[in-house]
């Protein structure tokens, strides 16, 4: 394998922008980090280790992610809140010029309207990125939460 792409740099940059997009509340930009035929799923470590397929969110294309966003903006009812994503360094598990698989630890703090901040989720992103020139986009992101318990509800994606 002749790897000339700096996968670590591409992925780090993409993930920094991904976290900033959600934390800044620019939900409409979020699907843009994914490929059209992507897979996105939020699950738990217990489900993941058992090989159970279902997700809290489960999408097999980018249009489903767009629907998530429009539902959140237009239909779903929840109290206003924001996230702060703290991401670890991506571990590159496999790489080629076309793409890479990586795993990245995350911590998400949820900041509520009443001023409270709580650790809402910790876990890891299991990702498959595709590279196109100087851009890395997600072909697959499986969000594996460490805890099986979600406080109240999950509206904004992780």
């Amino acid at each position: 394998m002749n790897v000339t792409v700096d996968a670590f740099r591409l992925i780090s940059r993409a993930q920094g922008e991904y976290a900033r997009c959600i934390d800044d509340g620019r939900m409409e930009d979020w699907p843009g980090f994914f490929e059209e035929d992507c897979h996105y799923r939020i699950t738990t470590a217990a489900n993941h280790s058992e090989g159970l397929e279902a997700g809290v969110i489960w999408a097999d294309n980018r249009r489903m992610l767009s629907d998530r966003v429009s539902a959140l903006l237009e239909a779903n009812i929840y109290e206003a809140h924001t996230y702060r994503h703290i991401l670890g360094q991506p571990a590159i598990l496999e790489e080629s010029d076309e793409g890479a698989r990586s795993e990245t630890g995350f911590l998400v703090v949820r900041v509520m309207r009443d001023g409270s901040s709580d650790i809402f989720a910790t876990g890891r992103y299991l990702d498959r990125y595709r590279f196109d020139g100087d851009r890395a986009s997600l072909a697959e992101r499986v969000v594996v939460c460490d805890s099986s318990t979600i406080d109240t509800l999950l509206a904004l994606p992780l």
Partner: protein, 427 residues
């Protein structure tokens, strides 16, 4: 002046206003009081009622076990070498420590408490006490100590279409009698003749009293109002026929809707949409492309079993929900998403896709996670006030209308009887 300190129970009765006579009023103190919480544990969860424990499919082999709860009491469900299921408290008879620490296990030969190594067989009988006879003639348990006299409390179990229910009260009616024919047939409709497989498990921690979630489950009035997903995206069919079934005791219910083939032909139904002028459409409407679940026209069936179980079929999303009180203002909601061994790969994909409708992030159920908290916060300082449940009349009877709070009233009818707050025959 003479004064005596009242007994605790007398004091409770003194500062707890009487439960109203009519089914249309629910005092808010029932969601707020620690003494009510304790009495619910005793009267309902350890009383003559059936609590959902797990799926039979989750303990298929001898030596398999799962730990769960009845109310806030930890319990173990295990399968013994004889092939039978047994249920007992997850509590060592010695000093009360948990016997099993994991959510599940397999190939268990026994349960041994880590604290002092008292051991129990898969039926929950105490079989061994470490250093029972002491060492070198010193120490040990008294001669009269009898293993058979000690053990965790055992549950009576009932398995219904793969659902395992348990009760601490031997006098609980048989599950079939407890549920009644109508509820039974509706459980049979979803689970009968099929083999459920677990697709995933998720837990929501709700910031409210458990009864607010049960009310919400039984409240068909809120569905098209709180959950704007369907109406916003122009996919709600208000012309659907359906109804509410309330069991005679009021305890259990079914809310269902079905495709109305005549209404489907009548384009006019879409004019009924609350937000029919919405320009929003799903970019991927395949989310709702499903299949006839069991060969009938019923597209939604929400079924509840008192005190804390829900079986759901929403389109092709099938799940069971276990509602566990965790305190006066905290509830654990356990979701188990189901598929069936008989599913084709395409059907499996539909189930995974439609699971977006339910659970902690569900398009139509995420709101149920927060609305109970809105009530819990809203009723602070209003213990003497009462909720009003007059939609659809005053009774807890079945009806073809879902614009009714009949099944919510049914819950309170069963609740106040079970809690000895008011007997139904004193009305």
């Amino acid at each position: 002046m003479t004064s005596t300190l009242p007994e605790n129970s007398a004091k409770r009765e003194q500062d707890r206003p009487e439960w109203p006579d009519e089914l249309t009023r629910v005092p808010y103190w029932v969601f707020q009081r620690q003494d009510v919480y304790r009495e619910e544990q005793e009267n309902l969860f350890r009383g003559p009622y059936w609590s959902y424990l797990c799926l039979e499919a989750e303990v298929p082999q001898p030596g398999d076990y799962r730990t769960t709860f009845v109310g806030d009491t930890p319990v173990i469900v295990s399968r013994d070498e004889d092939g039978e299921l047994y249920g007992f408290e997850n509590r060592c008879a010695h000093r009360g420590a948990l016997l099993a620490l994991d959510d599940r296990g397999s190939n268990a030969k026994d349960f041994t408490c880590v604290y002092h190594a008292w051991s129990y067989n898969l039926q929950g009988d105490l079989t061994g006490v470490a250093f029972k006879d002491g060492i070198k003639g010193q120490g040990g348990m008294p001669k009269y100590f009898c293993l058979e006299d000690h053990g965790p409390r055992k549950l009576r179990l009932a398995v219904l279409h793969g659902l395992v229910f348990g009760s601490f009260d031997e006098d609980v009616p048989d599950i079939e009698e407890y549920l009644g024919d109508e509820i039974l047939s509706r459980i049979d409709r979803v689970l009968g003749g099929r083999t459920p497989v677990v697709l995933g498990r998720f837990t929501q921690l709700l910031p409210n009293n458990w009864k607010l979630y049960m009310e919400n489950v039984k409240d068909s009035y809120h569905a098209s109002i709180l959950h704007l997903f369907f109406t916003t995206f122009g996919i709600n069919r208000l012309g659907q026929r359906g109804g509410i079934i309330v069991s005679e005791s009021g305890a259990h219910h079914v809310s269902y809707s079905a495709i109305d083939r005549e209404a489907e032909l009548d384009a006019g139904y879409s004019d009924q949409n609350i937000r029919s002028d919405s320009e929003y459409k799903l970019a991927d409407p395949s989310l709702l492309d499903g299949f006839s679940e069991v060969g009938d026209d019923t597209t939604l069936q929400i079924l509840s079993v008192f005190p804390g179980f829900v079986l759901q079929q929403i389109q092709n999303s099938v799940a069971v929900r276990q509602i566990l009180p965790r305190g006066v203002e905290s509830t654990r909601l356990n979701w188990t998403y189901l598929g069936f061994e008989e599913d084709t790969p395409e059907q499996r994909t539909v189930r995974l896709k439609q699971a977006n409708l339910i659970g902690p992030a569900g398009y139509i159920s995420m709101e149920d996670g927060c609305v109970g908290g809105f009530v819990q916060r809203g009723i602070a300082g209003a213990a003497d006030e009462q909720a009003v449940l007059e939609m659809g009349g005053e009774s807890a009877a079945s009806s073809e209308s879902r614009v009714t709070e009949a099944s919510v009233r049914g819950f309170w009818k069963a609740y106040r009887e079970g809690m000895h707050l008011r007997q139904e025959n004193d009305k």
